[in-house]
Symmetry: none
Subunit: 225 residues, 4 copies
Amino acid sequence: MITRGHAPDGEGIPSLADTSALREPPATARGARTRAALVAAARIVFERDGYLDSRLTDITAEAACSTGTFYTYFAGKEEIFQAVLEVAQDDMLHPGMPRLDPEDSSPVGVIEASNRAYFEAYRRNAKLMLILDQVAAGDSGFREVRRRRSRAFADRNARAIKDLQDRGLADRDLDPLMAARALSGMVSRMAYYAYGLGEDHTLDELVETSTALWANALKLDRNAR
Amino acid sequence: MITRGHAPDGEGIPSLADTSALREPPATARGARTRAALVAAARIVFERDGYLDSRLTDITAEAACSTGTFYTYFAGKEEIFQAVLEVAQDDMLHPGMPRLDPEDSSPVGVIEASNRAYFEAYRRNAKLMLILDQVAAGDSGFREVRRRRSRAFADRNARAIKDLQDRGLADRDLDPLMAARALSGMVSRMAYYAYGLGEDHTLDELVETSTALWANALKLDRNAR
Amino acid sequence: MITRGHAPDGEGIPSLADTSALREPPATARGARTRAALVAAARIVFERDGYLDSRLTDITAEAACSTGTFYTYFAGKEEIFQAVLEVAQDDMLHPGMPRLDPEDSSPVGVIEASNRAYFEAYRRNAKLMLILDQVAAGDSGFREVRRRRSRAFADRNARAIKDLQDRGLADRDLDPLMAARALSGMVSRMAYYAYGLGEDHTLDELVETSTALWANALKLDRNAR
Amino acid sequence: MITRGHAPDGEGIPSLADTSALREPPATARGARTRAALVAAARIVFERDGYLDSRLTDITAEAACSTGTFYTYFAGKEEIFQAVLEVAQDDMLHPGMPRLDPEDSSPVGVIEASNRAYFEAYRRNAKLMLILDQVAAGDSGFREVRRRRSRAFADRNARAIKDLQDRGLADRDLDPLMAARALSGMVSRMAYYAYGLGEDHTLDELVETSTALWANALKLDRNAR
DNA sequence: GATGAATGAGATTTCATTCAT
DNA sequence: TATGAATGAAATCTCATTCAT
């Protein structure tokens, strides 16, 4: 059975954990407040102006602090962008409510729930996801982080597919890893077109089509459990 | 039947035809040579440094001409990038030779041939495709062009899927347009991971998996014609 | 006879007494400890990074106290540098023990002892001497202090030379003040090259040569008393 | 006999040749004019404000060009400072007229001529020499260049001293290299005090004293040839 | 006494574009 | 056509010093 937390392609959820742990958190409450204000301001500015066109002074102006204060907490634009992502990531990873209909833990039901969660999270963070594309397109380090993250998700989904194959529920001719990667990529692409580029599809259409394509592609039995 | 030239997602092949026709070609042979040298130099520089990080002076230096000369032929970086794309586009659109086994014009055979052509073209132009991502990510005008182009391809593929459905060869529960868009996106994503990010898959693996997933997803009969 | 305490050129031993006496010492033992930690930290940082490139925060970090605390004890970088110098100055002025062979208080013997003391002190504080150069080079006030100090030493040595001339022991054609200044400068320069720039000469070579040159230059009789 | 071109300590005449040859000269006459204007402006600004306190915009303002133009010719403050030094160096190395009285090529005469040339050159460039101190004090790369240059001069003078010793004209007890270094340092120090710090000595006093001290220190016979 | 967050003026640097030769 | 010097607006980043806690 496909495990919980399946996130198509894993994109948009880089942790960048490498550097985020290095800087120690503000020592005082005031510091924590200022830092949070800067991160919130940065998200607003990034979403409004794009990453490349936003200036540090716009962020500090939005946060109502001086430019010097910015550097108390971040080394530059890249670093505060990571901080913005980390906040968004929490939202991407911990949706407000359970996605899984306890009545329906069939493979198809799990896939559907996962896809729905992904589309919802993407919709909530669509602008930020575009910014992330922009940053990743220009920064190979960032791209590498995304690649590794995607691979981790794909590996997990690949194991789930393998499991279904072993249980005779999925097409045994497919390479589990490649299929996992391809289908996850498909879902992320659908979200990109729908919410990033603004094609008009309803959430239900997206969930329905993506789930049907997953199910068909794996030759899943819709009634199996 | 799915028509020839099916290009998954249509990505990476924007024509930007709007502006490219405006400027008339160099009057003299020397001019034509200089222009060609600049375009070739630009591709080298873009692929080496990325679009954002490349400077016009790098291009003119690579082309061994002065900065002033650049403006004789192009209005700026965007315009020469279009010129670079146009050259690459010929390659993307006209694969060296037909990959289609004349014996096998079954739906699955056509899909396979299309996918193979796409992967091969992507592989030949992988670096440029990444640059294109970078440009599109930062330029909403460019993004819109890509979106329209993708939609045109998807529409064509959607009609092909509709046709298969009408003939009873494909799953009638699927929305043809969304399925077309999703599956084309899947293929473009696979190419991106394999050749853009450097995951190591062989061409045959990519073709095989993508074709199997298309066929399964549409519930095509592998033997139908 | 040339008096004790002759310090070639007098360089590197500015007292800056004007300001150093103004601030009164810390009232509590804890305060004294903190102040001492800051001075010690400053010397480490100055010697590691140079005066210009060292930041106050580096010093407070090295001293493990906050930036605010710094200002409890010092008005700024210049003032703590003076404090560092005062500590070093004790070492420069009071070599561990008299180097003077009581048997040999001949003019040449005194010169030799003085030169040796100077080279040894310079060697112990070579890094700091370079820092001092850096500060003096950029601060005309500091330069003036050094100039006056040099002049005071030179005047004293000039009187000693005059005395030797009057007693018929030194070349009467020399101007005592200029000769004193020149020969003191010579010794300070030798120390700078040897210990500041790292030319490899032994202490004995330096002492021997400098003393011989002094003696020759003044046409001293090596056996006179 | 001490050779022509003896330059005490060699200080203030670094060539920094390492980098100066890298950048190719302006292609046009206009470019050469602009570059020269910048160098001249830089010298004025450096001498007026000191190296550390001068800003690039002051230099471009003085040269009546834009800030961008500066970077057409120089990478930064350090590089234009090298260019200023190179101009001064020509003056230091090629004094306007022959210093040597053809009637007096005795060792003492040669030393006197050399010292006089050095003092004159130092006086003409005194402000710049102080700037050089400032730069060298803060930049170890620069210091190293000076060290090597000094050593080259000292080596040459050491050979001359050795020659005098071999001919029985100079004190054989002295180490030629150390004596050369020490006496050259002495002269450079005298120039620094007189012209850098503004002690009031006449040129003749400086020449006379320095020459007498050299002669005495080496135990030269004033009448020898 | 000790803390450490906040300040903000100002210097450096880049590079697409123009235009006189 | 070709040249390449000149332009200049605009963005980043530093760090000594203050002051509320």
